[in-house]
């Protein structure tokens, strides 16, 4: 009896799936008809006219409806069981990971052989590379996790110790990667190519990481949803920019000073605002963030409005400027001048600050303030 009930539950109900797909398509059509079906463009008389995009609309509706149909007819129960068995087995994951990496690499080398003119083929090969690498990465991580779980069960004492050790090793490896990253990039891509990698993928990511950790203190640890958090980021940036321009103070004095100023603003806003709870707090902080942004934009005499502050003195290597002159960084250390040194240096500064943030956060949680 139970077996039969289970089978009927997992049996695919085509009619129902079709009906649901039809409704989904209809709703999608209604949602997308005005904004995707029509495009408003200006003609040469500067009047708005309409263009239609029926193929795009039909394609999108078809994708959504067929996706819903597929979802409806898939045997979810069996798939779920199959996936669970798969994820639990390290050997299967290892084989899949290896296969994915192999396919991705093959596609990568075929890509080099294909001429530029075969756009479609190149695009599909690139898609294969990206998808293969993504699945490969997921499977590799899954393999490591499954292997660790299978080898060292958490229930036994030696297993727990081993897991702790693996954690320590992984953390050290991650830290080592972060420290070595600019050097590796310099070595891999050369002086010209590395700027992009260190700047966009290193410095900016670390800035976001720092912002994220800071926000985590407010939202995660204190439980206060602060939507105006970036306002403090703006306060810090403008403090540095304006003070450096007006008084010629150096980066190293202004770094803590900007922090203190932003913290001062935090205290100033905190007193009235923290009497509120939950979503009211979220909205007031949002409004404060907007007020600060609007003032920064509109107070043109001080902040130069949308054009922003330019000509901010650059950070120096503890007093030695990064330029091509006699007393510049490159000359002092007997190196050939390149703008890359500043980027690398800034990378390490921001890395140190990010690690400091992390350390402070971890300590803070143990202090009486953190426990509250």
């Amino acid at each position: 009896m139970a077996d039969e009930a289970q089978r009927s539950a997992s049996r695919v109900d085509i009619v129902r799936a079709l009906r649901e797909a039809g409704w989904t398509g209809l709703i999608t059509l209604g949602l997308l008809l005005p904004l995707i079906g029509f495009n408003t463009v200006q003609n040469i008389h500067n009047e708005l006219v309409l263009e239609t995009r029926w193929p795009l609309l039909v394609a999108l509706v078809a994708i959504v409806a067929s996706g819903r149909l597929l979802w409806g007819v898939l045997p979810h129960q069996r798939l779920k069981r199959g996936l669970a068995a798969y994820v639990g087995s390290p050997s299967k994951l290892a084989v899949t990971a290896a296969a994915c990496w192999l396919i991705a690499m093959l596609a990568r080398y075929t890509l080099d052989a294909v001429a530029e003119s075969h756009t479609t083929l190149r695009m599909s090969l690139m898609a294969v590379v990206i998808i293969g690498a993504c699945i490969g990465t997921v499977c590799t991580i899954g393999f490591v996790a499954a292997w660790t779980l299978a080898r060292y069960p958490a229930t036994t004492e030696p297993g727990r110790i081993r897991r702790h050790q693996i954690g320590v090793v992984l953390r050290a490896a991650a830290l080592g990667f972060l420290v070595a990253y600019p050097m590796v990039m310099l070595w891999l891509t050369g002086f010209q190519g590395a700027i992009k990698w260190i700047d966009n993928f290193g410095i900016q990511i670390l800035i976001y990481v720092m912002l994220g950790w800071g926000l985590n203190i407010v939202v995660g640890l204190a439980g206060l949803l602060d939507l105006g958090y970036v306002a403090f980021y703006a306060v810090g940036a403008y403090s540095y920019a304006l003070l450096a321009q007006a008084f010629g103070l150096s980066f190293w004095i202004l770094l803590p000073l900007a922090g203190i100023l932003a913290a001062f603003w935090g205290v100033l806003l905190g007193f009235p605002v923290l009497r509120l709870r939950g979503d009211y707090l979220a909205i007031v902080t949002l409004a404060f963030g907007e007020i600060i942004r609007l003032i920064l934009i509109n107070w043109v005499a001080v902040t130069n409005g949308y054009a922003g502050v330019s000509g901010i003195p650059r950070p120096t290597f503890f007093g030695i400027p990064f330029n091509a002159e006699e007393n510049g960084f490159a000359a002092v250390f007997g190196l050939e001048f390149s703008p890359i040194y500043r980027t690398v240096f800034l990378y390490y500064v921001i890395l140190a600050l990010a690690l400091l943030t992390a350390a402070v956060t971890v300590r803070l949680r143990r202090l009486p303030v953190g426990r509250a």
């Binding site: 709703i27 209604g30 949602l31 008809l33 005005p34 904004l35 995707i36 029509f38 495009n39 408003t40 463009v41 200006q42 009047e47 708005l48 006219v49 309409l50 949803l225 939507l227 009235p272 605002v273 009497r275 509120l276 709870r277 939950g278 979503d279 009211y280 979220a282 909205i283 007031v284 949002l286 409004a287 404060f288 907007e290 007020i291 609007l294 003032i295 509109n298």
Partner: protein, 306 residues
């Protein structure tokens, strides 16, 4: 004096639009206790739907009568925006009901960003402007110095449409079974469900009604200013929310009163101080109200729910 009266007229017009949006905030907050941040962007989407419907009617079909065109545009915009808001509620908020308190709020912020970016990608980042309509004015106070106080037809259209819709809406909420179900859900969702009210359906209908009013506001905004862009959702949205808070969130007449007040404050501020900081003024009112008068002008005293 003339300047003041003229600004009063402009302010009431702007305030009616804010009031219509504010009702959407206040209703949704009343029924599920959530600040629907995406509501401002739903308003912007509705203005775009109205724009496209208007262009279809005037440039393709060639309807001569502007009043008829406006009526059709209103109905189309209300229907399609309702569908949009229904889908948003279904996809982004309903799965999170019963999650921790701030989850739907964060989801709504995401939805707001999604909507404005979607419109930017689908319709382009430029301002969309339409030729002005209902531009004739009625001079109320002729001034020999040349500063006449005048009411334009489009302002009258805004007032009439707003008043009619508010009356209809008031009737639905206070006199029909649906309105009773809404008020029941507002007081106690579980008890309402026990007494046979379909809570999910009532919440959906609340979102649909909020969207319909936002669509009216969007159509009026498009007609009044003659221009709309993908970024026009956030600031009117926050101002309407300010209006809802000022009037006492959860209170329907409060939303309208708050909307009118915010509209008046904004136009008078622009007339007598500076237009640059009019948004700062609105946000400051929001902050001050929230801190010193959290229950608003017409709201009930806030009871802490645990």
């Amino acid at each position: 004096m003339e300047v003041f009266v003229q600004q009063l007229i402009n302010g009431i017009t702007l305030g009616s639009i804010y009031g219509l949006i504010a009702i959407g905030y206040t209703m949704v907050f009343g029924i599920i206790g959530m600040v629907n941040f995406a509501h401002g962007d739903v308003f912007m989407v509705s203005a775009f739907i109205a724009l496209i419907a208007l262009l279809i009617l005037t440039t393709w079909i060639g309807i001569g009568s502007l009043v008829l065109a406006l009526l059709i545009v209103l109905i189309v915009a209300m229907a399609l925006t309702s569908l949009v808001n229904w889908a948003i509620e279904r996809v982004a908020y309903r799965p999170l009901r019963g999650s921790f308190r701030l989850a739907p709020l964060i989801s709504a912020i995401g939805m707001s960003i999604f909507l404005s970016n979607f419109v930017q990608v689908a319709q382009g980042p430029r301002n969309k402007s339409i030729p002005p309509m209902f531009n004739e004015v009625i001079v109320l106070m002729a001034d020999p110095d040349g500063y006449d106080v005048a009411v334009s037809y489009k302002q009258i259209v805004v007032w009439v449409v707003t008043a009619l819709l508010l009356a209809g809406f008031w009737f639905v909420v206070s006199r029909t079974a649906l309105g009773r179900a809404q008020r029941a859900c507002e007081q106690d969702q579980r008890m309402a469900a026990l007494l046979g009210v379909d809570v999910d359906r009532t919440v959906s209908i609340t979102f649909v009604m909020a969207a319909a009013l936002a669509a009216v506001a969007g159509t009026m905004y498009l007609m009044y200013y003659g221009v709309v862009s993908f970024a026009d959702g956030f600031v009117p949205g926050v101002k309407a929310f300010t209006a809802a808070v000022l009037g006492g969130i959860g209170s329907l007449p409060g939303a309208v009163v708050g909307g009118l007040l915010i509209g008046l404050i904004e136009t008078l501020w622009s007339a007598y101080f500076s237009t640059d900081y009019k948004d700062v003024a609105a946000f400051s009112i929001l902050v001050i109200t929230m801190i010193f008068l959290p229950q608003g002008l017409l709201g009930r005293p806030d009871v802490e729910k645990v």
